[in-house]
């Protein structure tokens, strides 16, 4: 079960660290996302802006897929999963029928495995309806180099043959290293490569925020990946 703790004073509290939620059954023990905030970071999206962005993306999905009949949302662990579930909830609200959502772990398909000790796997949960012939919307929190999405496309290919694949991200921070682009973007956030983007979600970190900070070393200390 996810353990949620509201910010201490009801507002945006960068200094507060929230408790690490208990891991859902079956997920990995090591490599838990941590919610320690970037010291000296600046909030660029608060909870309201995130909420609106997700609502807008959900409507865009419905528009561009003609009602999302055969859409399936697959979030990329870690926080892409929660975003996928939130989008699915919104789709279900609007269309009054459930929208399948799940997760697709891409660890085994990464192109940078040899740069760090072997990583724990995230959880893969593909809805029973499968991906064949479906429109798969991959969901991730931050789009950066594009390598994560490239790995996700390879992983998807081993699962089946979707009719089409689209990409929804909360933040696009630029600096693509591969020819990859997002179909749905919550916020375009120009950044320098020395900066770090940290996404916090209530289900995982106890609050909703997108934080922009300096220094990859600090990001590593805060448990964030240096690049996506």
């Amino acid at each position: 079960m996810v353990h949620v703790q509201p910010p201490a004073d009801g507002g945006l509290d960068l200094a507060a660290g929230s408790a690490v939620p208990a891991a859902p059954a079956g997920s990995v023990g090591v490599g838990q996302p941590r919610s320690a905030l970037l010291p000296g970071g600046k909030i660029v999206l608060g909870p309201d802006e995130i909420r609106r962005a997700l609502t807008r993306i959900a409507h865009e999905i419905l528009e561009r897929t003609d009602g999302a009949d055969d859409v399936i949302l697959l979030g990329i662990p870690t926080r892409g999963v929660q975003l996928a579930h939130r989008l699915a909830a919104r789709l279900a609200q609007v269309e009054s029928r459930p929208a399948p959502s799940g997760s697709l772990d891409i660890t085994m398909y990464r192109d940078d495995l040899r740069l760090r000790p072997a990583r724990a796997l995230g959880h893969t949960d593909v809805p029973a309806s499968g991906v064949d012939g479906k429109v798969v919307v991959l969901v991730d929190d931050v789009l950066y180099s594009g390598r994560t999405v490239r790995a996700a496309l390879d992983a998807l290919g081993d699962l089946g043959r979707p009719r089409a694949v689209q990409l929804a991200v909360l933040v696009d921070r630029g600096h693509r290293e591969l020819p990859i682009r997002a179909d749905y973007v919550g916020k375009n956030l120009p950044t320098s490569q020395r900066e770090v983007v940290q996404v916090l979600l209530t289900e995982v970190d106890g609050q909703d925020a997108v934080v922009l900070g300096k220094g990859a070393a600090q990001a590593a200390a805060a448990g964030q990946e240096a690049g996506r």
Binding site: G29, R114, D158
Partner: protein, 307 residues
């Protein structure tokens, strides 16, 4: 992550759980149309099997191939090994071939230790003499957790020739690390002299232990041990320590029956018990591939271990 997996004692609790969790994720991928992951592409895994064991070797081979590694099988028969080539020279040959990992099964306890001193790659112990068989213990723990939902506080009874069993040694160590409670049951002749120093209980009375256990694991007993006077006859051994239908009825309802294989049906385990719904023997084999995939991935799938 550690560089070699030679003993179950090499694994910390976190390491062991990481392997089990990773294997769990990999097991779920087994129904995919294409079950082949690119993760170990370009890596070479050598199976160095001095003892005949088709099943374990195939399990490791399947695991490596599903991760896209190249597999080279080196079996003792008909090779330079059969002609008396030393372990050291074989190791140097493997080095020259660029083995990233060597999976070794050998009749001498300690052979993987020696090998680790001669090769740069990772060494995975697939069974050395009467010493250890860590991937077996891992797949056993995985099976227990899958069937019963937990390992912490689980009561596990291991029955049979503990003295000569590498499976028993690895299981006692790993289950202790994972917080389970182990009881060994055997005739006194088949227990090591210093078993009192092991992190487990010991009993000579199987019937007394069965009603209070969650898992009963039967070890293979070789009839030849009778000739060295470890027990008087196979029949007496079976009568006192074999798991037959009436003993199985003593088990709590949820309890499972395990066996590392190969079985001596009729000696340590009756045929109807082996084929019953409580028996996990078949799924142990399937779980073996997932566990071995997890081990190979964690040993080879990242950067070189630093220490």
């Amino acid at each position: 992550m550690i560089r070699h997996l030679i003993s179950a004692a090499d694994l910390s609790r976190d390491d062991a759980l990481l392997i089990l969790d990773t294997a769990g994720e990999l097991a779920q991928m087994a129904d995919r149309p294409i079950f082949k992951l690119p993760t170990l592409r370009g890596r070479t895994v050598v199976n160095l099997f001095y003892e005949d064991s088709t099943r374990t070797r195939i399990s490791f081979e399947a695991a490596a191939k599903r991760l896209s590694a190249d597999v080279i099988n080196f079996s003792a028969k008909g090779s330079s090994v059969a002609k008396g080539e030393s372990l050291k020279d074989t190791a140097l040959t493997l080095e020259a071939m660029g083995a990233d990992a060597v999976v070794i099964r050998h009749g001498a306890s300690g052979a993987p230790h020696r090998l680790a001193g001669w090769v740069r790659g990772s060494v995975v112990n697939a069974g050395d003499g009467t010493h250890e068989h860590p991937t077996q213990a891992l797949l056993d723990a995985f099976t227990m957790r899958s069937r019963l939902g937990r390992l912490e506080g689980l009561r596990v009874t291991i029955v049979g020739d503990v003295l000569h069993s590498r499976v028993a040694r690895s299981n006692v160590l790993l289950l202790h690390t994972l917080g389970a409670d182990v009881t060994l049951v055997a005739p006194p002749t088949l227990l090591p002299v210093a078993v009192g120093t092991w992190p487990c209980e010991v009993s000579y009375d199987l019937d007394a232990e069965l009603p209070k256990t969650d898992v009963v694991m039967m070890l293979r007993v070789q009839a030849e041990r009778m000739n060295a006077a470890y027990f008087p006859t196979v029949r007496e051994y079976s009568r006192r320590y074999g798991l037959d239908g009436s003993r199985m009825a003593l088990l709590p309802e949820h309890a499972i029956v395990m066996h590392p294989g190969p079985m001596n049906r009729g000696v340590e385990i009756a045929a109807d018990v082996a084929d019953s719904a409580r028996s996990t023997i078949v799924e142990q084999v399937a779980n073996g591939v997932s566990i071995r995939m997890a081990v190979l991935y964690l040993l080879l799938g990242g950067s070189e271990a630093s220490a």
